[in-house]
């Protein structure tokens, strides 16, 4: 079965610090990879996605993610976080026609 692992469920950091969230998946076939973000009180929304080409993907709000096929990883990064980046971040893998498998999420709190 497909699975997505996200570690360090709770992350607390100060503004201007760098953020990296790990995501590892287990699926032997071709995958499409996503990071979704959920700001407090809001719905899940797409942050960025990878399906082919350049393994370094840039998304909204200064986020980027790197797909490393040999490591089955799709880590999310932001060089300098802001208070408004406080949110829950979910990594997801698309497999087998219209299906998404999500990780458990990372709750990120940025302290002003």
């Amino acid at each position: 079965a497909q699975s997505v692992s996200q570690h360090n469920h709770h992350v607390i950091l100060s503004e201007a610090a760098s953020l990296e969230l790990g995501c590892n998946y287990s699926y032997g076939g071709t995958v499409n990879l996503f990071w979704y973000v959920q700001y407090p009180g809001q719905h899940l929304q797409l942050l960025l996605k990878y399906f082919s080409g350049d393994p370094l993907v840039k998304g909204i709000k200064g986020f980027e993610a790197e797909f490393i096929k040999s490591k089955f990883s799709f880590n999310l990064r932001k060089p300098s976080v802001q208070w408004s980046d406080t949110a829950e971040y979910f990594c997801a893998v698309s497999y087998g026609n219209n299906r998404l498998a999500f990780g458990k999420g990372n709750q990120v709190v940025v302290i002003p």
Partner: protein, 114 residues
């Protein structure tokens, strides 16, 4: 703005009393999904509709049913809710074809079972 709407945002029901959650979309997407998300857990796909074709996940309990009367609406029916069914229920949509389908989520309905 085009969006995915879920009603109600909060639903309280009694143990064993049938409940229906609704989802509507103005995106005209042909695929609709229902996820269950329990506290501190990943959203878990229950089933999805590809147009009118219903696709149930193998581990979705029989207690959960779904209806899609038209493109815009999709319902989640829980026939006999148990305490373990208390969760956030997320509806999402996507459009088949082209780039890998991005799923657009509604705000969710939080279900409480007393």
């Amino acid at each position: 703005d085009a969006m995915v709407i879920q009603n109600p945002r909060y639903q309280v029901t009694q143990f064993g009393k049938p409940v229906t959650l609704s989802c509507s979309q103005t995106l005209n997407h042909n695929v609709m999904y229902w996820y269950q998300q329990k506290s501190s857990q990943a959203p878990k796909l229950l089933f999805h509709y590809y147009d009118k074709d219903f696709n149930n996940e193998a581990d979705t309990p029989d207690n959960f049913q779904s209806r899609r009367p038209n493109t815009s609406f999709c319902f989640l029916d829980i026939r006999s809710p148990g305490l373990g069914d208390a969760a956030m229920y997320l509806c999402a949509t996507s459009r088949e074809g082209g780039d890998p389908e991005t799923q657009y989520f509604g705000p969710g309905t939080r279900l409480l079972v007393l």
